[in-house]
C-alpha cells in the first residue's frame, strides 16, 4: 500500500491548486466562442477613458514600517524620478515587493528584512544616519558598494542587491494588479502599451512608439474575477 502524500506536502499553496472539476472536457458552443473573439478584438479598440482603472490585488503588508521606508528609498535610486518621468517609488514598486513577501515570496521575507537592516546599518556606520534620510549621492555611494559586494559586515550584500534589483523591476513593470506599476508608470517608460486580449497588425508595426492603452489583464477579463 502506498501512502498518499497529498495531505501533507502540497507543492504549491492550496490557493494556487487547480480546482477539481468534472471530468468532462469544456465544450463551448461555436457562437459563444465567436462572440468572445469579437468582444476581445473590440475591447482593444475602445478609447482609453472607457476602460476601468486597474484594481489592486488583496494581499497583506508584512514589512515593518521602517523597513518599508528603507525599501522605498532603495527602489527610488534604482529607477529614480528624473527628466524621463516618475520612477519606481511613484510606481509603487516597494508596495509590490511588500505584498509579494506576504504571499508568493514569503520564503524570502526574513532574508530581505535582514538585508534591509544591514543596508541601514551600513548607512549609519558610514554616514551616521539612516539610509532613507541620506542625500541621493550618499545613497548611491552605498548602493555602489553593495552592488560590488564590498560592504563591511554585510556578507551577502551583492546577493541582496541583485534580488532587490530584480524585485524592483517586477514592481515597476508588472501588471498593476499586483500593486506596482501604478498609473502605468513603468509601462509608459518602456513603451509597453498594456495587456490586450487581441492585437492588430498595426500594433505590430515597426519604427514608432505605440500609444499607451493603460490596460491591466484583470480589467480585460469578463469571465472570472482575477485568480
Amino acid at each position: 500500500m502506498f501512502e498518499d502524500p497529498d495531505d501533507r506536502m502540497p507543492a504549491v499553496p492550496a490557493s494556487q491548486l487547480p480546482v477539481a472539476r468534472e471530468t468532462e472536457p469544456p465544450q463551448p458552443e461555436r457562437r459563444v466562442l465567436l462572440r468572445s473573439a469579437l468582444a476581445a478584438s473590440m475591447l482593444s479598440l475602445l478609447p482609453l477613458e472607457m476602460r476601468q482603472a486597474a484594481h489592486a490585488v488583496d494581499a497583506p503588508s508584512v514589512l515593518a514600517a521602517e523597513l518599508l521606508t528603507i525599501l522605498d528609498a532603495f527602489v527610488d535610486r534604482i529607477i529614480p524620478a528624473d527628466q524621463n518621468g516618475p520612477g519606481a517609488r511613484a510606481a509603487g514598486a516597494a508596495i509590490y515587493i511588500d505584498r509579494s513577501l506576504g504571499d508568493w515570496n514569503a520564503g524570502e521575507l526574513e532574508t530581505l528584512s535582514v538585508g534591509l537592516r544591514a543596508l541601514d546599518a551600513l548607512a549609519r556606520r558610514r554616514f551616521s544616519a539612516g539610509f532613507a534620510t541620506l542625500p541621493d549621492a550618499q545613497k548611491d555611494e552605498l548602493l555602489t558598494v553593495m552592488e560590488a559586494g564590498q560592504a563591511e559586515s554585510f556578507a551577502n550584500a551583492q546577493q541582496i542587491f541583485n534580488r532587490l534589483h530584480r524585485l524592483t523591476l517586477e514592481g515597476t513593470f508588472s501588471d498593476p494588479y499586483y500593486g506596482g506599476n501604478r498609473n502605468f508608470i513603468g509601462w509608459d517608460l518602456i513603451g509597453y502599451p498594456g495587456a490586450v486580449l487581441a492585437s492588430t497588425p498595426e500594433m505590430q508595426r515597426m519604427g514608432h512608439r505605440l500609444a499607451p492603452l493603460h490596460t491591466s489583464a484583470y480589467t480585460l477579463k469578463h469571465e472570472h474575477d482575477g485568480h
Binding site: F2, M9, S36, G186, M203, Q204, G207, H208, L210
Partner: protein, 572 residues
C-alpha cells in the same frame, strides 16, 4: 489493498502531448480506453495576459506531481547529482501542450538516417566520438501519413515547401515531400518578420514561416489566434492553441470509449510471471486502485516514462519493466536548443513592436540545419535552424538580457537606456541536432526520493563537442542575418553548454530493431513485454533542429494505430 477495477482494453498513462493523441486512433479503432492523468482539466479562465502569473510565478506550468519528482542532475559520474529547482513540465489534461509554444514541425528526412547518411557522404570519421547514434527503424516516408494526421486532426498552420516533390520557395524548400498543403495558412505576419524575411532572402537564405499548432483561422469550431503576446508558459484564453485537451481528447470522448481519470498518480505498471503487463496501480483521492488492461501505452513525459519502467520491478523484471538488457535510461539526452549561450539576441536602433504576437509567429531559416549544406572540413555533423520571432513581456524587456551590460544597471543612466531600448531587442532560437552519447544517461538517484519514498530520476550528462560546434556555426549566420537587418549589437551564439533539465528531453526508451541497443521495437512496443507500448520523446534516438512535439505525436498515433491493427497478436 488496492481496489481492483473492471478490465479495460487499453490504459494510456498520461493525457498530454503524446497520450492525448494516442487515445483517438485507439477509440476510433473500437478499443475501450482508460486515460489516467496526474493533472486535471483547465479552462480559458485559468489563463491570463500576465507575466507575473505565467513567467515569474509559473502558475500555469506548475504541476503538483512533477514538482514532487524533479530529477537530479550532474555532468560527471564522479559528482553527486543535485536536485534541480523545478521540473520544466506540467500535469494537466493536455499536459505541456497547454503552455508550449506550439511550434509544430516535421523532422527532415535526414534525421531518420543520420548514421548511414553520414557514412555515405563524409565517412566514419565524421561520426562524433562516443555517440551511440543509430538510424531510426523507420523512414520519413513511413511517418509521413501520421504527420499528416497530426496536422489535420490537431490543427497546424503553415505553408508547404514540398508537396510530392514540387518545391515552393514560400515554404521550407528543405523539407521532405508531403502529401498535401497544411490545413491552415501560416500565422499572421508582422512588420518585423516581413523585414527579417526580406533581409534573409537578400543574403541568399531560404526563409519561411514556421508551422504552428495554433489556429490561424477558425478551425474545428474554434477561433483563430488573437496574438495577445502571452503564449509562453500560458494557456490560450480563446482555445486557439491546439493543446490535446481541446483538439484531440474531446473527439476521443465523443466515441464514448474513453474514460478520463484525472488527478490520478500511476505508481506501477504491473506484470505477470511470463512478462506481460496486466494493468496499472494508481492513487486517486488517497485511495489505491488497480486498473487491469489488455495493453498499456506509457505516455508520461520522458523523465517519468524512464522512471516508471525502472520502478515497475517484478519477479520477471528484477531490473525494471522492459529492462532485460539494461537499455532503459540509456541514450537519454536533452535537446541543444534555447539555452543561454546557444540562442542569439539582437538590439535594433528602432522600436520593433513585437510585444504582441506569439512565439510561434516567426520566420525560420533551415539553410544551416540538418545536412542542408556540405559539412566537409567543418568537423561536425547536423546543424541548427534559426528562428526569429515575436512576443516580449515588459519585465523581461526591461531586464534587457545580455544588453544590460551596455549601461550601468541602475540610476538615471540605466533608466534612460531602458526607456530607449526595452522595445528594441529581439530574440532568436538556434535549435540544434542532438545525438545520444555514452556519457549521457538517466537512472534512479541513489538517495533523493519523492514523497512516496521512490527514487527520483538522476540525469548524468557529460560534455559534447558536436552540438556546440553545430550550434555556433549556425549562430554565426543568425548574427550576420541580424546585423544585415540593422542590429547594432548581438549577444549569445557561442554554442552553449547544453541543457540541464529539458522541455525537449529525448531518449531513454529508444526505438530500434536491436534489443541490445533499444527498449522498444520499430512500432513502439517493448522488446520484452509485447503488450506494453511507449509513446513520447523517450522513444526518439536523435533530436532534430526544431521542436519535437509533432514528431512525438505522429509516432504516438502510429504506435496506437499499430495496437489497433495488431490487437490479437499483441494481446495474445
Amino acid at each position: 489493498m488496492a481496489t481492483k477495477l473492471r478490465e479495460t482494453d487499453v490504459v494510456v498513462i498520461g493525457l498530454g502531448g503524446a497520450g492525448g493523441v494516442a487515445v483517438l486512433p485507439l477509440t476510433r479503432g473500437g478499443l475501450k480506453v482508460v486515460g489516467i492523468e496526474a493533472g486535471t482539466w483547465m479552462t480559458p479562465a485559468d489563463f491570463h495576459a500576465d507575466e507575473i502569473y505565467n513567467n515569474v510565478r509559473s502558475l500555469v506550468t506548475t504541476g503538483n506531481k512533477v514538482s514532487r519528482e524533479v530529477p537530479t542532475f550532474r555532468t560527471s559520474p564522479n559528482d553527486v547529482a543535485r536536485q534541480v529547482a523545478r521540473h520544466p513540465m506540467m500535469n494537466a489534461v493536455g499536459g505541456t501542450t497547454i503552455h508550449y509554444h506550439a511550434q509544430s514541425w516535421r523532422l527532415n528526412p535526414w534525421d531518420f538516417r543520420i548514421r548511414s547518411a553520414t557514412l555515405e557522404r563524409y565517412g566514419a570519421k565524421y561520426l562524433p566520438e562516443g555517440s551511440t547514434v543509430e538510424d531510426w527503424p523507420l523512414s520519413y516516408d513511413d511517418l509521413e501519413p501520421y504527420y499528416d494526421h497530426i496536422e489535420y486532426e490537431v490543427g497546424v498552420s503553415g505553408k508547404a515547401g514540398n508537396i510530392k516533390g514540387v518545391i515552393d520557395p514560400a515554404g521550407n524548400i528543405f523539407e521532405g515531400p508531403r502529401q498535401r498543403e497544411y490545413p491552415m495558412p501560416p500565422l499572421r505576419s508582422c512588420d518585423y518578420l516581413d523585414h527579417m524575411d526580406k533581409v534573409a532572402r537578400s543574403l541568399g537564405l531560404h526563409p519561411y514561416r514556421g508551422p504552428a499548432a495554433i489556429n490561424s483561422t477558425v478551425y474545428q469550431n474554434r477561433a483563430g489566434c488573437a496574438y495577445h503576446g502571452y503564449c509562453d508558459r500560458g494557456g490560450c484564453h480563446m482555445r486557439a492553441k491546439n493543446s490535446t485537451d481541446v483538439s484531440i481528447i474531446p473527439k476521443a470522448m465523443a466515441t464514448k470509449r474513453l474514460t478520463v481519470v484525472d488527478n490520478a498518480v500511476v505508481r506501477r505498471i504491473e506484470s505477470d510471471n511470463v512478462g506481460k503487463v496486466t494493468g496499472v496501480t494508481y492513487l486517486r483521492g488517497g485511495k489505491e486502485f488497480f486498473q487491469p488492461a489488455r495493453a498499456v501505452l506509457l505516455g508520461a513525459y520522458t523523465y517519468e516514462n524512464i522512471r516508471l519502467l525502472l520502478l515497475s520491478k517484478s519477479r520477471f523484471y528484477p531490473d525494471g519493466l522492459g529492462n532485460k538488457r539494461g537499455q532503459v535510461g540509456k541514450h537519454y539526452f536533452g535537446h541543444w536548443e534555447a539555452q543561454a549561450g546557444t540562442s542569439v539576441s539582437a538590439l535594433f536602433p528602432t522600436d520593433l513592436n513585437i510585444w504582441y504576437g506569439a512565439l510561434a509567429q516567426g520566420v525560420m531559416v533551415d539553410d544551416l540545419a540538418d545536412d542542408n549544406f556540405d559539412h566537409g572540413g567543418l568537423g561536425f555533423i547536423g546543424g541548427a535552424s534559426l528562428h526569429a520571432y515575436t512576443e516580449k513581456h515588459p519585465i523581461g524587456a526591461a531586464a534587457m538580457g545580455g544588453f544590460g551590460r551596455m549601461s550601468k544597471r541602475w540610476g538615471s543612466e540605466w533608466k534612460a537606456f531602458i526607456k530607449e531600448n526595452a522595445g528594441r531587442s529581439a530574440p532568436a532560437y538556434v535549435q540544434t541536432t542532438t545525438l545520444p552519447y555514452e556519457n549521457t544517461w538517466a537512472d534512479l538517484d541513489p538517495t533523493v526520493k519523492d514523497p512516496y519514498g521512490d527514487p527520483v530520476l538522476r540525469i548524468t550528462s557529460g560534455p559534447k563537442q558536436n552540438e556546440p560546434r553545430a550550434a555556433a556555426h549556425a549562430a554565426a549566420k543568425m548574427i550576420e542575418w541580424f546585423k544585415a537587418a540593422g542590429a547594432i549589437a548581438t549577444t549569445g551564439g557561442q554554442g552553449g553548454t547544453g541543457p540541464v533539465l529539458s522541455t525537449h528531453a529525448h531518449g531513454g526508451t529508444r526505438m530500434g530493431r536491436d534489443p541490445n541497443t533499444s527498449v522498444v521495437d520499430p512500432w513502439g512496443f517493448s522488446h520484452d513485454a509485447r503488450n506494453l507500448g511507449v509513446i513520447g520523446g523517450s522513444v526518439m534516438g536523435t533530436a532534430g533542429a526544431r521542436n519535437p512535439t509533432q514528431t512525438w505525436q505522429a509516432l504516438a498515433w502510429r504506435t496506437a494505430q499499430h495496437l489497433v491493427d495488431s490487437w490479437n497478436d499483441i494481446t495474445a
